[in-house]
Symmetry: C2
Subunit: 641 residues, 2 copies
């Protein structure tokens, strides 16, 4: 950690460390104004939120709170033991969406009313001592805290806390009561699980990251301390061993002693995110460095080219190093969200662009892959190889996990849809940061940015880009500065040969340079109208795997900018390969890659059995399975390999 | 089916079709007298049986029957819902072992006493109406037949029936009562599940194959008819859908309409074996051909090089075509046993040596891989790639499934140890068959064979071989024949360049020929002392995978005769590769393979990171993990691939 900071203003951010290299800019400072992510945010804020709300009612997961208040539990309860958490993530998503919209308006008023109505139902279910869970503690239900391995009680509260943080930071003066509900629950957690209390952990990490942020948001060191206690208790084997071993819930090794993320991929990343918060707030450099090391090893050895994590269906877990099967890739959507949370905290603490690289890769190729274009159907797991066309899914039916089908509207375990929704609603908070010296752009989208540097100077920027279709990112400075400050733009690791041009308000080139992967910086006493233009080479490219990944030996993947492409069988129709067995298809890299004006990519595909060949358009991985059942593969076997 | 046969004599065989191409020779006709399988049978009949009996007592699975008789259920019951079946497989194994030993003796008397004691305990638990299960039907237990998806009631009875068949065919005059117990239970099954009864199936196939054979053994067409009903009811969706779909228990598609084995690999093969029995007995050629087609596709596309089947840990199931991950190979031991059962029935029906080829491959590389040399520890799943040295297993502890450890003494789900035991005890029954024209040898082991041909002639043979260490199989005819008969010897598909020599009693060469894969035959009016010598080329060889198996692209496997070899990290000690990362190792096929006098094989291994190289001894796959924790891989990536 290389700086200490005292936050004075409440910004609309999911994570607000009091120390660290970079200060995140909030939804009050950054607005995504269109483009790829702007379109997704629109769909998310309308169709997806409405869809989730509808299913929460329909499945009775919201009604569970009403039953709790009216004494109708346990008889009438519906859903799995963690269904409360989906309601909290839904609240968090709405809170960010309201924050994102900024000014009031009819649609926002409607969302606000919806938010308050759900909060009221949740609040009515809370016990007088702050306890809140619809599944435990009543006559006929298991006792409170009696099933910590699988009960998810603290996990649910972690999501409640994150929802409260979102509300506190977007509508700090709201009187809906969510923050009070969270505070009372958090106080109870500290009483019950504090020093001398029940000295164990929850089987699904999440309360740590929730408590830590609630502590920051409410200036409550007690919550941060409780998060620290939970972090430190991992690895002591206080949970009962389960079939898949204690690594499943990271109770095998102390967080600071672990060498790599392991076990259940969502749990592992939520825990690491919470541990990063604790490390930063307590100045625990040893812990932070341990987490950084784990991140490195996990990204090198246990992460798919999409950014996806989790190789096992059985236990939704990481595999061993280099164990990255494509057809059995689990790559859970929520693990993608959780991985972003972990990476973002390391980025804020250390300022290393590699963490933003992984966030970008994961955003485009995991989190964006989950929802359909329409925002109303989702992948829970994200395979990299579909050998048999997946089944159609009825829009009216609850799915298991959509492991071998098209996207599904809802799941029995439906963690992913609201996780996607809260991430997209808060996406502007991952675009940029500031420090004393200037502003850093991490993700590229058309955006308006207005913030205050560490030294108090106001800075405003306008970002114009069609990224990722185009590699051109044009940043116009809207404010004059007497003294120089630094604008920093991330150059992704895949972008070799990036160029950076600075123009003055008259359009004259001030400087022109090439920029290697990392951060390209311009230090200048910017005048209003100055433009910094980053040109990233987004031509399609072949990428070879690490030779230690057995599952994709002899294969290449096609990428273009941050997007991974795939071969999808629907694109073979009308080509000489229409009748080919998908398993016989190979790519001929010697024939190059074709790029069309739209950013589309075509590769030369060969049937090794018949020698038929054709140039076939590839599909952006996040767009696959949008045109009905089909086969698909991300890694393409090379001719003759 | 090309012949009809009426069996007149009871032979000690697990399968006795009344029609088909080949008649199996029983333990009363074939004795394995030593060699590779003779050693295994000795260990199995002593150490393994004692081990299993000890654990069945220790875990209370035998005591469950005592509790059933004394009214101590459900309170005192221990073990999973299918634990009764392990007792039945144990009984079946003892029955075959007694049959294998033939003449009485102190050790056999002890086994016989043990058998009778266990049967008495089982019999005491049977209800007055024939119902027998320690988990269902009593006050405080689920009702009979109320949980057919997961209850395993009929599955358990299927194993009871197979045990009774083993007893009826090895000690037909025994008065222990096991056959009566089975008959009463089978009668109840027919009453309850016959036409107009509960028209559904068991979630785990096995009762079909058990009923069919009991019907054959007791000449009870009613049981065969009930087996037929169960077979026909598969695919009607009468079981409730489960998370993994109805294909898990083969209730998705009618057996005769399916194109390939799918779902749970043990269930699939037990079902196919039972369906083959039904097809043969009812002259249902359509069904038999459907099964044959399914076998072909399954072997081509869904079977590991070891013969192992089942690619998923999650549901212990087959994957899609070509989905054969090595590090996540499940390849359950019981699926190997079940696959042998299916193949054996097709072999008897059709006489195609390919079915015996798969049996051999599976025997050496799956069934023999499960038990330790000592016969007291087992693999449940048989991975083809161990990335991290597996954990040591306490000899006193029940394991989950030993998925990532050394062999374990016992499992919570302990189907595999007794399944291995019954298979090895009855192994002589898989060695040879007869038809009207002669005798067919399918598996090679030192053996004494004495049988009667279809035309009533007595034939006796002595097989001498050190197979698979040596490829020489020497068959001495012990009987004179006035008319010619045909001795047929299987030439495995891997054996190109096999040679067949016929010598007369004086040692003079009568004929000499080469023999391609399939069946090598000698038709001759054999005189006592005549010798037929088959010479199979067992030099080590590299085998390339089907290019559609993505998981092993760019890899080769080393085989020698029927045995698959593996690279095991313990063998790197003392070589220049001792410090190498196992993931960096490659094989250099251009350097050839070394074979030592003992049949051991060495390959040239290269560290692609350091360029270090060494000739390293490979381990027979079935012997791996016998020297402590180590890394292992069967498929070796090729240098530069």
């Amino acid at each position: 950690m290389n700086m200490t900071r005292t936050t004075t203003t409440v910004h609309s951010v999911p994570v607000a460390p009091t120390m660290g290299a970079l200060r995140p800019l909030g939804l009050d400072e950054v607005t995504i104004t269109g483009g790829f992510w702007g379109r997704r945010q629109e769909v998310n804020g309308t169709a997806t939120l409405a869809h989730i709300g509808g299913w929460l009612e329909r499945e009775g997961w919201l009604a569970n709170f009403d039953l709790a208040a009216s004494g109708g539990l346990p008889e009438g309860r519906r859903g799995r033991e963690f269904s409360d958490s989906e309601v909290y993530k839904y609240l968090e998503a709405i809170a960010w969406e309201i924050g994102r919209r900024g000014a009031a308006g009819e649609a926002t008023d409607e969302l606000e009313a919806r938010f308050r109505s759900v909060v009221a139902r949740v609040a009515a279910a809370q016990g007088p001592d702050g306890y809140l869970n619809t599944r435990f503690g009543r006559p006929g239900q298991p006792a409170r805290w009696s099933e910590l391995e699988w009960g998810h009680e603290l996990y649910c509260l972690g999501h409640l806390f994150q929802a409260a943080v979102a509300r506190a930071r977007t509508r700090p003066d709201a009187s809906d009561g969510l923050v009070d509900v969270a505070r009372r629950a958090a106080d109870l957690v500290c009483e019950v699980f504090g020093e001398g209390g029940i000295e164990t952990i929850c089987g699904h990490a999440e309360v740590e990251v929730g408590l830590a942020e609630l502590g920051r948001a409410l200036d409550a060191p007690r919550y941060l301390e409780q998060a620290r206690l939970f972090i430190e208790r991992h690895g002591r084997g206080t949970l009962r061993a389960i079939e898949w071993g204690r690594s499943y819930f990271q109770d095998d090794v102390a967080v600071r002693d672990a060498e790599v993320l392991r076990g259940h991929a969502v749990r592992a990343n939520y825990l690491a995110a919470g541990a990063a918060d604790v490390a930063v707030e307590s100045g625990d450099d040893e812990l932070l460095h341990a987490l950084d090391r784990q991140w490195d090893t996990t990204v090198e050895r246990r992460t798919y080219v999409t950014g996806g994590q989790g190789s096992h269906h059985q236990d939704e877990a990481f595999g061993e190093d280099w164990e990255l099967p494509t057809d059995r890739a689990y790559s859970e959507t929520c693990a993608g969200v959780a991985s972003m949370m972990f990476s973002w905290r390391l980025l804020l603490a250390q300022g290393d662009p590699r963490h933003a690289d992984l966030i970008e890769r994961t955003l485009f190729n995991v989190v964006e892959t989950s929802p359909s274009t329409s925002g109303t159907a989702f992948y829970y797991a994200n395979t990299l190889h579909q050998r048999r066309p997946g089944a159609e899914v009825d829009a009216d039916t609850v799915s298991r996990r959509a492991e071998s089908s098209l996207r599904a509207p809802w799941f029995e375990v439906s963690c992913c849809p609201p996780n996607v929704a809260r991430t997209f609603a808060s996406l502007a908070a991952y675009v940029a940061t500031a420090d004393a010296a200037g502003v850093q752009l991490h993700q590229y989208a058309p955006a308006s940015i207005r913030t205050t540097l560490g030294d108090g100077r106001e800075v405003a920027l306008e970002v114009a880009t069609e990224y990722p279709r185009s590699g051109s990112v044009r940043v116009t400075v809207l404010t004059d500065a007497a003294e120089p400050w630094t604008l920093s733009l991330r150059v992704p690791a895949w972008a070799s040969g990036a160029r950076l041009t600075v123009l003055d308000a008259g359009g004259a080139v001030v400087s022109h340079s090439t920029a290697g992967p990392g951060a390209a910086t311009v230090e200048r006493a910017f005048a209003a109208g100055d433009v910094v233009e980053l040109s990233l080479p987004v031509e399609p490219r072949y990428t070879a795997p690490d030779p230690r990944v057995d599952a994709v030996r002899g294969c290449l993947v096609v990428e273009r900018g941050p997007e991974v492409f795939a071969l999808e069988s629907v694109d073979l129709a009308g080509t000489p390969l229409a009748a080919s067995d998908f398993a016989d298809l190979r790519v001929d890299p010697a024939a190059g890659l074709r790029e069309d004006a739209d950013g589309g990519v075509g590769a030369t595909i060969v049937d090794e059995r018949t020698d038929a060949r054709a140039e076939v358009p590839l599909v952006r991985y996040h767009d696959w399975a949008e045109r009905g059942p089909s086969q698909m593969r991300v890694w393409l076997p090379v001719v003759g390999a």
